[in-house]
């Protein structure tokens, strides 16, 4: 799957340190497949105890329909390593999250699931926070975000992840191609590796 440009309204969740327990609570982690995880997205922020939607939560607004970009506070995705977090976001149609920083494991997990973590400078972030539901464009190939004001800012991404997303490279396939290097490494280390005998 190749990652295409995104042009979407933005849903704004101006909270720092949103942890993966909020993105998807642990009780949704008993599944042995990826199916249906979207139901758990921000469950306890999104719904009351009886399952009815909380009317003030951003993703419950009528404008949230079809939104592909989420803008959040600093350090998004901290906490547990659960890949269920990006799975749940993607199943809700989110293709990019814009913040000032991301937790390491979440960032890695997101990139492996066609979910783009976009880090923008503080001033651009401030503009986005003030512009809920405005239209923003993200061009991964050019590594740019077009802000609601029309200003264009660049964002960083490592070259390998970018290639994987833009060209649809399969990471595991890429690793499997290096089988002979792995075998050579194992041969060299026999006796010096701690194995489970």
């Amino acid at each position: 799957m190749k990652f295409e440009k995104i042009e979407s309204e933005i849903a704004v969740l101006p909270i720092d340190n949103i942890d993966t327990d909020q993105i998807i609570p642990a009780r949704y982690l008993k599944s042995i497949s990826k199916d249906g995880l979207g139901e758990g997205l921000f469950r306890d922020w999104r719904r009351n105890a009886d399952g009815t939607p909380k009317s003030d939560f951003v993703l419950n607004q009528p404008q949230a329909e079809g939104v592909e970009i989420l803008v959040t506070g600093d350090n998004f995705g901290c906490g547990s390593s659960r890949e269920h977090a990006p799975w749940a976001l993607v199943q809700n149609g989110i293709r990019a999250v814009i913040s000032t920083s991301f937790a390491d494991i979440f960032k890695g997990n997101a990139l492996k699931n066609q979910l783009l973590p976009v880090v923008v400078p503080a001033d651009a972030h401030a503009e986005l926070l003030k512009s809920p539901w405005a239209v923003v464009k993200i061009d991964l190939a050019a590594q740019t975000v077009t802000l609601p004001s029309g200003r264009v800012v660049e964002f960083p991404i490592d070259a390998f992840s970018k290639t994987c997303l833009v060209e649809g490279v399969d990471e595991l396939g890429y690793m499997l191609q290096q089988d002979s290097a792995i075998t050579a490494f194992e041969a060299k280390r026999v006796g010096s590796v701690n194995t489970l005998r």
């Binding site: 008993k30 599944s31 042995i32 105890a49 547990s80 390593s81 699931n113 290096q178 792995i182 194992e186």
Partner: protein, 467 residues
């Protein structure tokens, strides 16, 4: 040769291949796995017709969804049961050693690795679990990965990785009575914030760290992720070697001598560079407790709950207001003396034998407050057995606490052990996120000593008043 940190040394010895423009292929010496983050990775293997490359370097356990009530009872949670059954099938189909609920070696994945001598200095260790940093206490580079990467390690025994920078965290001097490893790490996180270590590996150093036991070092390394670092480690020393020696998977005879010679090369060279440094004076530390909804929101037990009015950053301010609202706490007040409903002693942070001994030392001859429900959950069946041999189970039971079978339990409330909405707990676990211990539950993180003292009095307590 340029002086290197321990992290650089471990990295250098595990690079299988490096291509320009791509992350390095890093070899993984030990892959730990559990029922929650592995099923979709096994599915990937099946879909692609792949095997587990090194089942001999892979170990599985059941801990997250497992009940902590008697193992003889049928499991009532059918969805959780299906997950455990799937784990059993996956391990059987792919030839992986599994410590299931029937074995005497089952336990929380980060407790059983060290306990069995699987965790050794200089290794690369991964698990689909963010608290894998626990194993760093042995001078291993250990970090959590997502399920896609679990699949990568199954299939290739490697990961695509870029090196992390090292962050030196030095703690110097003697700890005061009643102050423990948990208080050190909570103080570090309160200082740097939960994103403070992002992109780095913590190397814990200094005379205080050197004087700690392996179990205490594990408590500290365990919570590296709460400081934003994916990994944290302590260079190995005699304390490390003594702990490993004689354990089931520890090298023996000539292999031991060879291993020891290798391990002694690991500590950071004089003059090696750190990207960041922090020094704490152990003598200034008090028992710590968190008041908010992330592990960085911690205060010394004599301190006051911060006032949002004194915070200038607008998001930080609204986050603090949100946290205090969720916790239903008033700024400016002390947390000490706040009524609690539940005490949880357990989790991969504080469920080892030394933690149970610490809690029992406070509980002995005392009773759990009638308004408090206390759960003591050993980290492994081995820990449970040891606790029983020492009579700790009796101390807990006589005090009125519930002493359980091994598992993650109320650390993440997946197995039925959980807080009711609105309840307050003092917990020895590692996360106080909203709903972490049960929907609507409110968590104060603290040490086993503080937890036990609070169980006795029914309010958040300075353990030093009971010692």
């Amino acid at each position: 040769m340029k002086p290197r940190t321990i992290v650089e040394k471990i990295w250098d010895s595990h690079v299988v291949a490096e291509k320009p423009g791509a992350p390095a292929l890093l070899y993984i010496d030990l892959h730990l796995t559990h029922e929650v983050t592995s099923p979709q990775a096994f599915s990937t293997l099946r879909e692609r017709g792949l095997k587990v490359r090194r089942p001999d370097l892979t170990i599985a356990t059941m801990d997250h969804s497992t009940p902590t009530t008697s193992r003889d009872l049928p499991m009532l949670d059918t969805v959780g049961k299906a997950q455990l059954d799937q784990m059993e099938k996956n391990c059987k189909d792919f030839g992986i050693r599994l410590y299931d609920l029937k074995t005497t070696k089952q336990g929380i994945v980060h407790v059983i690795g060290p306990e069995q001598g699987l965790t050794q200095p200089g290794m690369t260790i991964v698990c689909g679990d963010s608290h894998t940093a626990t194993h760093g206490a042995f001078g291993a580079l250990a970090f959590g990965i997502g399920t896609s990467q679990v699949g990568h390690v199954f299939a290739t025994q490697c990961l695509l990785q870029t090196p992390s920078k090292s962050y030196a965290i030095r703690v110097e001097g003697a700890l005061k009575r009643g102050v423990s490893a948990k208080d050190i790490i909570l103080a570090v996180i309160a200082r740097i914030g939960i994103g403070g270590g992002t992109g780095t590996v913590f190397e814990y150093q200094g005379s205080t760290i050197r004087s700690l036991s392996m179990e205490e070092r594990m408590t500290i390394c365990n919570m590296s992720i709460e400081g934003g670092a994916r990994a944290g480690l302590v260079a190995p020393d005699d304390t490390t070697y003594q702990y490993i020696s004689g354990r089931e998977f520890a090298p023996k005879g000539a292999d031991w001598d060879a291993a020891l010679a290798r391990w002694k090369q690991l500590p950071t060279d004089q003059g090696a560079q750190y990207a960041k440094e922090l020094t704490l004076d152990a003598a200034t530390l008090e028992p710590m407790v968190t008041f908010g909804t992330n592990p960085g929101m911690g205060i010394p037990i004599s301190g006051a709950i911060p006032d949002p009015a004194s915070v200038s950053d607008p998001i930080e301010k609204s986050d603090l207001i949100k946290a205090l609202k969720y916790m239903d706490l008033e700024p400016g007040k002390q947390l000490k003396g706040h009524k609690i409903d539940v005490v949880f002693v357990g989790s991969c942070t504080n469920s080892r034998i030394s933690d149970l001994r610490a809690a029992a030392s406070v509980m002995k001859g005392r009773k759990v407050s009638p308004s408090v429900r206390m759960l003591v959950v050993p980290g492994s069946m081995q820990v449970k057995k040891q606790a029983e041999a020492e009579g700790l189970d009796k101390i807990f039971r006589e005090a009125g606490a519930d002493f359980r079978e091994a598992g993650c339990s109320m650390c993440l409330a997946m197995n039925g052990d959980q807080l009711e909405p609105g309840e307050y707990s003092v917990s020895t676990s590692n996360r106080n996120f909203e709903g972490r211990q049960g929907k609507g539950g409110r968590t104060f993180l603290a040490s086993p000593l503080t937890a036990a003292a609070s169980a006795v009095t029914g309010v958040v307590t300075d353990v030093r008043t009971l010692l």
